[in-house]
Amino acid sequence: MSTALPVLKADDFASDQDVRWCPGCGDYSILAQMKKVLPEIGVPPEQTVFISGIGCSSRFPYYVNTYGVHSIHGRAPAVATGLKLARPDLSVWVITGDGDALSIGGNHFIHLLRRNVDLNIILFNNRIYGLTKGQYSPTSVEGQITKSTPMGVVDHPLNPISVAVGAEATFIARSVDSNVKHLAYTLKRAAAHKGTSFVEVYQNCNVFNDGAWSYAQDKATRDDTTIELEHGKPMIFGKDRDKGIRLNGLNLEVVDLKDGKVKEDDLLFHDEQANSTLVYMLSRMRRPEFPEPIGVFRDVRTETFEEAVHGQIEQVVAKKGRGDLQKLFNSGDTWRVN
């Protein structure tokens, strides 16, 4: 006799806690999409763990009815790595922000990516410190006026996607909080990838940095300011789909498709398995010169960290058998006192 598995819905992943983000915060949209996507992934709540650091986004685990750890600032990737090594059977999500992942936790972030631990890390990028009320972050733009930079930011911002490419992440994607369909699709793709899946989400902080991503959110502008990456398809964008991206030597350029001089076949075709130099070039596409890519930059399968670690363990066990402590203690030079 077989028992039918219960069909889970978004509500099954809602916790009993009141959500305490500011009204209008982009985090609500990401939470809603996550709850929508989780039942579709097919992993039951008890097999799912959300781990976060510190910041507005890091309250996320309290709002999903799975297992979860709200850890300390910047360290969620390290906590998650330990959990995943101990329990490869679990589905692990790391929720972080631009300050948490790229400033105080920058070290753990790059090491998580280069190790390729099989988990998903979602970076809510709002280009500001929200929870501490409005200081600039490592993704704030030059000249940005914040509470800690009354004369404007002088740091050069970090580009999260470029950092991920540099760390040789095996799955790299970007989405936008308000583009719910695209966001849900991207989260699902991240879950499906084996290895570290990194997703940057443009997220609006309507209190301290309102409108930072309005160009990418606004339906009136977003077709011209962003370009959706689709595997195997030519890179075309624009409200009228009349502009494209072409590779010219070692540079990308925007070309006009209207007059027919440039054909679709001349454009760059997006390839999720392309070499990292090309992925890096895509990551450098910034407005106003370029539309900013949205979608999956890279998706390649290589050995995950826990596969490698447990592979070594299995190899030794296969060769030597499970260790016998008594034998170990009695090995080598011993002597007996009667």
Binding site: V69, A78, G82, L85, A86, Q326, T334
Partner: protein, 643 residues
Amino acid sequence: MRRTECATTNLRPLMTTEAISSKPVHSVSGVTVRLVGDSGDGMQLLGTQLTNTSALSGNDVATFPDFPAEIRAPRGTRAGVSGFQVQFASHEVHTPGDSLDALVAMNPAALVTNLADLIKGGLLIVNEDSFEDKDLKLAKLKTNPLEEPAMENYRLIKVPMTRLTKEAVAEFGLSVKEADRCKNFFAMGLVYWLYGRNMDATLRFIHGKFGDGKSVIAQANEKALRAGWAFGETIEGIGHSYRIEPAKLAPGTYRNIMGNQALAWGLLAAAQRSGKDMFYGTYPITPASDILHELAKFKNFGVCTFQAEDEIAAVCSAIGAAYGGQMAVTTSSGPGIALKAEAMGLALMLELPMLIIDVQRGGPSTGLPTKTEQADLLQVMFGRNGEAPLPVLAARSPADCFEIVQEAWMIATQLMLPVIVLSDGYIANGAEPWAIPDMSKLSPIKVEHPSENNNPDGPFKPYARNELLARPWAIPGTPGLMHRVGGLEKEDGTGNISYDPDNHQKMVNIRAQKVANAAKLLPPQQVIGPQSGDLLVISWGGTYGTCLTAVQQAQAEGHSVALAHIRYMNPFPSNLGEVISRYKNVLIPELNMGQLRMLIRNRYLVDAIGFNKVKGKPFTVRELHEKIVEHCKSPSRQEAHAK
């Protein structure tokens, strides 16, 4: 009748080396020998071999390796001197010895930096080939110390080791450098002859390390060892050798063990006894790294070692593994523990069991990486933000490391708390005989993970508590028990975030009481010596052996003194205050500036006297004994106050 026999039947001796000296043999009860040379001269290897061989011959042994932080400091300089001291005896020894009966010095820098510790009339063996002008210059010496009149105080044996080794290994066609490298085995051969040591174990080591019987390097080293032995037998300057009878240790099978090795093996035992796989997250740091090297070898014992990107990631990965239900461990030394502080606070808020091990070294900051000190006690007690107490245990000797981590894991799992274990550089690198336990006789460490919801009226309560105030260790993968934990203050029971003032007070009280409850799981404080009297010496950690030896000496001289060695630094044993009250005075020797003394004074309002030293070196028995005798005679603290 007790007798010792070599039980290494699994290792066939390469050839019989039961060489008997034809010279007279003097019987002595114990010897302290120090071997000193360049950090690249293999002094640590030589010392370890001498220790193992002495232990195998049934002596009790205690060692003190002392080496610079630099891997290869400039050759021949004083900064590059590396030493290994071992005491082996026919009686119990608890220290590597104060002063040296014999000193083997491979160069002038090694000689002048160590000679002060050699007793008058002591045996001084030097490699006279390394006392050329250039060698003296490297040691910043204007004259040759071997020609000083002070040499008359010692039995100086000048051995042309470099030349004799070269001649001995000539047949193997080694390069000059390779041949020169064999001279430490020549020195070892001489020392073995001198103390009647059997060469078998070292020969096995040589052939194991440098290849089988066919390896030229192995053959050359064996030849050098035998040449050294033969030199002792023939040279006229040495009239006799020594014999040290086996010590009367408790019956059992023994092996020689180093502190970090015992600690690693203790962790394996703790995992097995609790039916857990172990997750070990760490970052390399002196003097704790050998624990990682040791555990990394045992992947088939259910151990996953993770060398993290930094100290913080190491402890955080352990927290993740603990949440996942494994036996989680992180190790470090003082500087790394400082980095882990915030995460240790998280672990105590999450109320997850794990072990945090601090192998202390000289501080502050980078301090003295390869030297010993006990100056992290207050750091591990108080080095966290907020009201953040944790249980703290301190190992007292290399072999004790095996026991203490198992005890710590028992406390951690029973109370659902991270537990800190203190070791130190002296214990970590020191060695002593260890009675191998029968694993089948060790009781299981009981660990439970709930599978049922403990709340009939709603969601699972992760912070419900038992009589010890421990919360349930519910692990991911368990249906129906989904819960979130975090560093924010939480409501007792539900674990929901709570900023309620009364709840915070309650939770702070509960977390403190949980630590205090550890005392219920632990034995009362014992004393060695009279149950009351003039002086109570309170020791902790790695100074145990020296304190015990000094106290026993004073007791033998008729002084009214006892030793209370504290193993449980937090919470203190529940009877400690009462024990202290039975003595007129309290003396607390520590390799710090008075950290335990501060805790004892604060807790028991007792005017304890400190004896403190921070020189990167252990106490000598002599200086401790002097202090003990002095304070046995002082007026009691009450009388002193009355005046």
